[in-house]
């Protein structure tokens, strides 16, 4: 599974304060801690923590690069100028592997973000929705996904650089719609061969529940069974990571050994 660590986000108080006070330590600490916990990418999200988010994202990326120059970074913003500033900061600080988090499926959004993906050699998380808004069923998601993949081909982006996001809903508020997501994931795997990656923002699912970790963990395992192979998640939740690793083991995506968790952690990224 491609694990994208969610913790460097201005929504968290310590990161918000770090941005405000230009204190790099919390950022560096979370970068290292998440990498150690098994993150493949570090998500970097200013959120609403700064009035000049393009400057703030640059500052965050630079701190990450100081702590972990070999880390891969996902820039998380809906704003083009922030995305570009983040990707440029990655390039300037020697971070080679980058991801755009995220684009929606409207033609004009795809053009802008796929353009950036080409320019910076970045992977792209694509939310399977367009101008019609948040999807309510499977067909809409699959249609949006097909349009996205067609555009990716047009822009000559390799399939493996696309991560389709079926948009996970909170169980608490949209219980009846969760089943759609698994069906959509199953159908995404059939869109092309090799299939694109499939990702969710996992913490959405458990949001507001009293058993957030349990809901997230169970959802993740079920999604992996249906074909999910990436997630933006709390990589420091060891039980969550271990459940994902074990799910993939059971699906024969890793060769079993008695210390399979340890072996997974040592794998080439």
């Amino acid at each position: 599974m491609i694990a994208i660590g969610e913790r460097i986000n201005g929504m968290f108080t310590d990161i918000k304060n770090a941005i405000a006070e230009k204190d790099g330590e919390p950022v560096k600490r979370w970068a290292l801690r998440q990498l150690e916990a098994g993150a493949d990418y570090l998500d970097v999200n200013v959120g609403t923590a700064s009035k000049t988010p393009a400057d703030a994202v640059k500052w965050l990326v630079e701190r990450v690069a100081e702590a972990a120059p070999n880390a891969a970074v996902a820039i998380d913003s809906p704003k083009h100028e922030v995305m570009k500033a983040g990707l440029q900061a990655c390039r300037d600080s020697g971070i080679a592997k980058t991801m755009i988090n995220s684009t929606t499926g409207q033609r004009e959004k795809l053009e802008v973000n796929f353009g950036l993906a080409k320019e910076y050699g970045a992977s792209v998380i694509c939310l399977t929705m367009d101008q019609r808004g948040i999807p309510n069923d499977v067909d809409y998601r699959v249609e949006a996904a097909a349009n996205i993949m067609a555009a990716a081909m047009e822009f000559e982006l390799p399939t493996e650089s696309i991560l389709l996001d079926p948009i996970a809903m909170p169980v608490k508020h949209a219980q009846e719609k969760i089943g759609f997501i698994f069906e959509a994931i199953r159908q995404f795997t059939l869109i092309c061969s090799p299939p694109p990656h499939i990702v969710v923002g996992l913490s959405n699912t458990g949001q507001g529940t009293t058993q957030k970790e349990l809901v997230n963990r169970t959802f993740l395992v079920m999604a992996i069974l249906n074909g999910l192979d990436a997630a933006i998640l709390d990589v420091c939740d060891a039980e969550l990571m271990h459940a994902a690793i074990t799910a993939e083991l059971i699906l024969n995506k890793q060769v079993y050994s008695d210390d399979f968790i340890k072996a997974y952690m040592s794998r080439a990224r």
Partner: protein
Amino acid sequence: MAVEPVRDKWKNPITEVTIGALKEEGGTRASVVRIGGETTMPFLHDDGGMPHEPVVAMEVWDIEPTEMADELRKYYSDVYTDPAAWAKKCVEQYGAAMICLRLMGTHPDWGDRDAAHARGAVRKVLDAVGVPLIILGCGQAEKDNAVLPQVSQEAKGERCLIGDITEGNSKTIVASAIADGHNVICEAPLDINIAKQVCILATDMGIGLDRLVAFHTNGGLGYGLEYAYSIMERSRLAGLGGDKMLATPIIAVMSTETWRCKEAKAPESEFPHWGDTSRRGIAWEALGATTYLLGGTDVLVMWHPEAVKTAKAFIEKMMKK
């Protein structure tokens, strides 16, 4: 329309292992052998690189191999009472890139000789030839634990390849190898899961992945060959795909494995339809060797000089791009 050839791309190279140490590296070898480093399945040069070609080591015993097949005796009966002379013949006449010294004489059923005897045999071979050494214990855990640390010390600094460690017996040998600067063979009984676990256990003790070579206890023919081939292939695919614990170079033993099979050595008088004994064993050994090379083997341990020739010619041909 032009057809684009499909190429595999792999993200994790096989680890590179160096066997043997030159004078300036603290050893006394005249040559060193480097194996591993592949970024492709075997010989698919358009998919990736094979920086080092597979090598053929030849097997020598510390004692006279009283049950040796007649076809092999023809070549070795003049030297097999003396490991030094035997090793020299393999290197000088048959072009062995390494000598694999099996300390069979330390086995409880083969004379139960002590560590001093084993040290003596290792010293003799080290002094007789300049190629790197593979040193195998007798395969009995308790005895190997008594003998191999001593042998490791005797060859300190020579960066030998010592084995085997197993899932149940790794600590003593790995500790010695770390202390004396050797590489280690991780053995698993035709079982990819255990192969992976042995590698994890070894690295847990602090030995680098660049010091480990996997041995899948391959058979000489039949099921033993088919199973071993598919395990090698699967482990190589997983290794190239990112599983570092399966990304070690692989050693395959043809010598004892081929020549213990009745198919290789039974006389033509007993099995007329199996054909000429003088060619049959060679064919089996060469067939096993070439099969395992295709499965990802980096080091072959062999016995019959004619089979060695065939394997080396095969390697040369397959390495041509």
